[in-house]
């Protein structure tokens, strides 16, 4: 047990990284910038925490009069479990397979369960960070509104600690099976990426499919409602059967239910250890190895590569290649920007298959997309999609941190810092545009071709989408320049345990809301035709982008010069 705890501590410490101390002043400066980051994070999170706290209290106020307050808890626990499941897959793949430490641990006198247990505990502890921000405020709001007693609060603490166990066990087992089955795959980087995507789609699909709320008709729901207190609980649990005991335990103070929940969680852990000891090591060994052809490059391939590019193009290409080929970078910085439509499509398809079909074509025809109102809505949706999906684009937000020890390369090459920053910015913009503008373009073309959406919308929508992405990338790049994480041992420390990503995302969220409010305000004060109004919005976004670009470049060049 002592070795397990020591190993957990070491893994956690090396995972969370931090900057290598080299002198008092540097440490002081670092502490200052880290302090500023925490302050920004706190300021950004306060509104969200406040909202969730209010939502918890509000949900209790709304549901308690009909005796269904437990549904609020169910919603929170189910959402928390799904969130942990979604975050769990990349986390497990990162911690268990991509850190590259397994071969360093295997020759130490450790039992397999100690290694697996330490890695699982580290993953579990990381998930608490998200629980702390998103789940706790809601539950506290609920508890205070309900005037809950000591038992409720004790059970809530147990719930927050144990809730992520089941989703992580699912993520771990599924990941281990996939990694073991495809152990002999030649390109292990590609295998890791595919495993995560596959697991995410599978998990999201299963959880959507097994959640039975959507299957019910109104009459069925009414019947259940009439059955008594908290009779609606249990409809959303889906693949998390232990949740109904947790919900009952917390909502009704049932010790027996809590004990059953604890028992199921313990059983899940036992199953996890049994499977992990058989599957994990066989799958993880040799993960860092990569196959080599050791064959001379063909003259055709060589000719293609040996063509001269400008330094900016070459640098951009290098950035994109490393982003796409490094699984940790791809999973954390790129993947979600492209995968987000799946999270809308899967529930839609499942709903579609359950209800026997929705006439989407008829629905769109009825909306009359040729009308001014519908056109305005389409433009607004494109902007929202760009600003919303762009939140998951962490390419520019980790552009400097990803360099790590190789940062000195940036300073050694005869390419100006401006050019290098432009290439880094462009890599973020390309990924963002690929994951938002491109999707919007496809949908807009379909709507134009089949449902009469006016053609003039296209340039405004595309320009708006690109500029929204540019603004977000600039904000992210600024954050990474302000507080780059250059000292790391494994790639996951550079992007996963990097506070810049979270702060950048929250700043982008605030910027997105601000831009939305500004556009809405302009709409109210300007009485212009929609085309002119769309042009004004594009000019406004271009002006914001221009000013941000100038500021970030000026700051970035000075910042890189000063970094040592």
């Amino acid at each position: 047990m002592r070795k397990y705890l020591i190993l957990t501590g070491k893994l956690l410490k090396s995972g969370l990284g931090g900057f290598a101390a080299s002198g008092k002043n540097k440490k002081k400066k670092r502490n200052l910038s880290q302090g500023v980051m925490w302050l920004i994070l706190l300021v950004c999170l306060i509104p969200m925490i406040g909202m969730l706290y209010k939502a918890g209290g509000g949900a209790y106020g709304l549901l308690a009069p009909i005796g269904q307050e437990g549904v609020a808890l169910e919603l929170a626990f189910f959402a928390g479990s799904i969130m942990n499941l979604m975050l769990g897959f990349p986390m497990i793949i990162s911690v268990f397979y991509m850190t590259g430490d397994i071969e360093k641990l295997l020759y130490l006198p450790l039992h397999p369960w100690q290694i697996v247990g330490a890695k699982f505990t580290v993953s579990l502890l990381y998930t608490y960070l998200t629980s702390l921000y998103f789940l706790c405020p809601f539950l506290v709001g609920y508890g205070i509104a309900s005037g809950a007693g000591a038992i409720f609060w004790i059970f809530i603490v147990i719930a927050v600690i144990l809730l992520p166990v089941m989703p992580l066990v699912y993520s771990a087992i599924l990941s281990m099976i996939i990694m073991r089955v495809f152990k002999k795959a030649k390109n292990k980087d590609f295998l890791s990426i595919i495993s995560v995507i596959l697991s995410l789609v599978l998990a999201f699909g299963i959880s959507s499919f097994t959640s039975s709320m959507g299957n019910m008709g109104n009459q069925q729901l009414m019947d259940m409602l009439m059955k008594g207190r908290n009779s609606l609980m249990g409809l959303m649990n889906g693949i998390f059967p232990s949740l109904r005991f947790l919900e009952k335990g917390v909502a009704e103070g049932s010790i027996l239910s809590m004990l059953i929940f604890l028992g199921i969680t313990a059983l899940a852990l036992v199953v996890f250890f049994l499977i992990a000891e058989r599957l994990y090591f066989a799958g993880a060994m040799g993960m860092r190895e990569t196959t080599a052809r050791r064959k001379a490059v063909s003259s055709r391939e060589s000719h293609k590569l040996n063509r001269r590019r400008s330094p900016r193009q070459a640098y951009l290409l290098k950035e994109l290649r490393l982003l796409i080929r490094t699984p940790i970078y791809f999973m954390n910085c790129v993947m979600l920007v492209f995968l987000w439509p799946l999270f809308f499509l899967i529930p839609l398809v499942i709903q579609f298959s359950k209800s026997g079909g929705i006439d989407i074509g008829g629905l769109l025809s009825a909306l009359d997309l040729g009308s001014t109102g519908a056109s305005a809505v389409v433009l607004f949706v494109v902007l929202c999609v760009s600003l919303g999906a762009g939140l998951f684009n962490y390419v520019a937000g980790t552009a400097i941190s990803r360099e790590g020890k190789n940062f000195q390369f940036m300073k050694a090459i005869p390419v100006s810092f401006r050019t290098q920053l432009q290439a880094k910015l462009l890599s973020g913009l390309y990924i963002g545009v690929g994951g938002t503008t491109l999707y919007c373009l496809i949908i807009l073309l379909v709507l134009m071709g089949c449902f009469g959406l006016p053609v003039w919308i296209l340039p405004f929508a595309l320009i708006g989408s690109v500029l929204a992405n540019l603004i977000q990338c600039l904000i992210q790049l600024f954050m990474d320049l302000f507080h780059p994480k250059l000292t790391w041992e494994s790639e996951q420390q550079a992007v996963k345990q990097n506070m810049n990503v979270m702060v950048g995302m929250l700043l982008n969220l605030i910027a997105g809301v601000g831009i939305g409010m500004l556009i809405f305000w302009l709409y109210k004060i300007l009485s212009l035709p929609l085309t002119a109004y769309a042009a004004v919005v594009c000019v406004l976004l271009a002006a914001i982008s221009f000013l941000l670009y100038k500021g970030v470049m000026a700051y970035g060049i000075r910042r890189i010069e000063s970094l040592e």
Binding site: S22, N306, A314, K411, I413, P414, S416
Partner: protein
Amino acid sequence: MIQLEHVSKVYNGTHKAVDDCSFSVEDGKITGFIGPNGAGKTTTLKMITGILEATEGSITLDGVDIKRNGVEAKKKIGFVSDNPDSFLRLKGLEYLNFMADIYDVPTEGRSEKIKEMAERFEMADALGDKILSYSHGMRQKIMVMGALLHSPSLWILDEPLTGLDPKAAFELKDMMREHADSGCAVLFSTHVLEVAEKLCDKVVIINKGRIVFQGTLDQLRQDYPEGTSLEEIFLAVTEHA
């Protein structure tokens, strides 16, 4: 030619890593930069290559000041750092072309240059594979190739022979000799005194941030006649400093 004049580097306003260093790396010569661990070798090389900014003093590369005209000065250097674990997910050939683009190597003659170096370092069959699949020595070789692709007049190499197999080490030493003989300058740091003894026309010894000797090996032996081997002389120089 590389010229350092009264160069100092102070970290965080307190720790003086390099103290008032002045020396030159002349064209047509191989200069060995020797010193114990933590003496300030890497810091000095990083200042010469523009990675670090000197707190005091000036550094010129073929007459171009690295501080005032960094981009132009850097074009003159081929720098091999002591860490070859970079760009691991690029293929060897992609890396070489990336470096060629960064250093403005024209398309004409690029293939021939890559082919010639690949054959010399026995890397022709590995260029289509990712650097991640390379051994330490192969990574070192590809970094050396990338640094020399643009035919720089000044070679600066930080521990370049570490990890190289005998054939590659021989080739690199041969290339250094050829480069110096063609009238260009080579500066390399090393811990291996035998290499310095066999290869260098001049040595610069640094200890605790200060230059304690610079000159030819014959001059060094004259200054320290009590030492029978270079190793003994080196220990005497660094202990007396």
